[in-house]
Symmetry: C2
């Protein structure tokens, strides 16, 4: 069964239709969100955390469907680098996703699921929706916006398009522009979903979901989140133990290698918590992301009004999805507008996923910048 769009997430209905980069507008937008820590009386201690492609609003609390801890509990919480004893942390499910915010799995005005009639959205549309959420919450200016990967794209987009809304921008393991290779990997995933006959042009709600296609898409993407060295260290060519016996080649097509079994599990587990159409829309938004193009072709112009914003940019040496070179382009653009920026490339073995994992140096960078 396609997973149900449950209505029991905390959310706010935006009062006005949301204008979109496509020229369309979206009415009756719900934005689901979670908050952690108290908003102070001056309403100036709020930090917005933007989540990545398959993330959600449960940054520091248990995911209601998987029962797993929040996806960034190591970073966000009482006494943590993003300290909820001091800050009011807001994390919203992005527009287009499937954890309570309006997306292709939501009902349109006529009561039917949008499916592929949902408008194609952009990273800027996601940020626009979240600024509307801030309006609804009565928060004018953020202490900081923080995000890794697609969350970092939103952080940069926020700085470019809503520079007056935040004092600090912390963007981790991200890029100002999706590259041809980035687009190519996403296209493989989309084609895998669309090749699944259960996808049925997107109209699968209430029936079988295209779980096989979505699983293959997740597997392909997952490889890009890990470094070659990390995969070798974690799995190498080790074989799966079977029925209590040590691993041996099956000379068949079972998952002989641990890395195969791991990837299959990653793919299948993902389909329990994510909607395939949301995957299509959000990857499309990421592929469309090119902050320079949005601002006349020159990246520095994107940050023309952000010269009073403080920036902190972090890359990881083993991240081959969004590389240090990608990040340096952002640094150069910020330098060109004389925005205060600190940039660090951290060494960590986990590839792109380093921003989510145990990298104490990242904790220190985040704590130092946020305070």
């Amino acid at each position: 069964m396609a997973r149900a769009q449950t209505a029991d997430f905390r959310s706010i209905a935006l009062p006005d239709p949301l204008p979109l980069d496509s020229g369309r507008e979206l009415a009756d937008v719900q934005i689901a969100y979670e908050t952690y820590g108290e908003l102070n009386e001056r309403r100036d201690n709020a930090i917005m955390v933007f989540h990545a492609l398959t993330g959600d609003q449960f940054v520091a609390s248990t995911h209601p469907m998987t029962g797993k801890p929040g996806w960034w509990e190591r970073m966000v919480g009482p006494g943590k680098p993003v300290d909820t004893d001091r800050f009011h942390v807001i994390c919203a499910n992005v527009l287009g996703s499937c954890m309570g915010s309006t997306g292709p799995g939501s009902a349109n005005a006529g009561g039917d699921r949008y499916a592929m009639n949902f408008p194609v959205i952009t990273i800027r549309d996601m940020v626009r929706a979240q600024m509307r959420l801030l309006d609804a919450l009565g928060i004018e200016t953020l202490h900081a916006v923080v995000g890794g990967s697609m969350g970092g794209m939103q952080a940069l987009s926020c700085a470019a398009n809503f520079p007056e809304r935040t004092q600090r921008v912390l963007a981790i393991a991200t890029t100002a522009r999706h590259s041809a290779q980035n687009i190519a990997f996403h296209e493989v995933g989309r084609q895998a979903i669309m090749a699944d006959p259960d996808w049925r042009g997107g109209d699968y709600y209430g029936g079988e979901a295209p779980t096989k296609g979505l699983s293959v898409a997740r597997m392909a993407a997952h490889i890009t989140y890990l470094s070659e060295a990390g995969l070798t260290e974690k799995f190498g060519r080790r074989l799966q133990a079977k029925d209590g016996k040590p691993g041996a080649k099956s000379f068949g097509f079972d998952a002989d290698f641990q890395v195969e079994s791991y990837l299959r599990h990653q793919g299948i587990a993902f389909t329990d918590r994510f909607d395939a159409n949301s995957y299509l829309y959000i990857t499309r938004a990421m592929d469309y992301f090119d902050l320079a193009e949005e601002h006349g072709g020159r990246l520095a112009d994107a940050f023309a009004d952000a010269s009073d914003t403080r920036f902190c940019l972090v890359s990881f040496d083993t991240d081959w999805l969004y590389t240090t070179a990608d990040m340096r382009e952002v640094v150069h653009a910020l330098n060109a507008v004389a925005a205060p920026v600190s940039f660090v490339e951290l060494s960590a073995p986990y590839g792109h996923d380093s921003f989510l994992l145990d990298v104490p140096a990242l904790d220190r960078v985040v704590r130092g910048f946020i305070q």
Copy 2:
């Protein structure tokens, strides 16, 4: 329709059953092959070219199904680096493939297609079959074996297992061991094929072939054949022109970006010429490839009997599939047995595919080593 296994390829039936690494043996093996240039009277001027995963025996002559030039015409032919005016070049379709050599699409003794009853094979099995072909052709010793990518694996396997059969080994853009990341990408492809309902457990011959799954598999693999910089140079974020109009975002799921269109084309065109089950079996053989493991765990031991063989190894600086570091491991192993080896890392922008493309430095290396 699943493509027919046509019988009009030039081939030889091996007289005896072929023993396989799995412990099984395969009877009635056909090996399809092409030759170029004359075999001399001493029968000592033969060079065997091994092809890559999706290659075939048509190294220097027109592919009979696609009508395209041979896949290495720039390297093999009269006056070319592998000079057919001087050498007798043999190129055989590998065991398990689908261009006339016995594979999962072939009929078994009962007249049915093997499909998934075909035994799982290894790179060494492929080489073993080709050594049997040499026996049938009355050629004892080769002037050289040459191959790139999986062809290079066969060349190294030949050196390790049949060192008396060749005087020279030229291995390009290859590795002695499939890494966890290599396996992971192949596993994505296999899962994409197996997720296609037209795959039907491999029994699709005579019906619809799993072209959608095979196409996704090819797309995922194809990304690994190209460098990030090469993709950026070739496509960047350029948009497809449509109906004579310059490219614009469709805000839809058409192939907006040129790289999407290119990949889709690569995927679909591949399904016209390749059998999905062969793709499963050959990728499995590559994943099983670990020359050290085959020889007690120490790579140098694989080459213990090859110390009189001359080796030339070539890697490309932008190849992230089989890297220079992978090749260095082979060099170190050959050094340990005091085999004569020359090694060069060439600079070329095309990633793994560089071995097939216009890299004049490679031509010079090949010509110099072969003569």
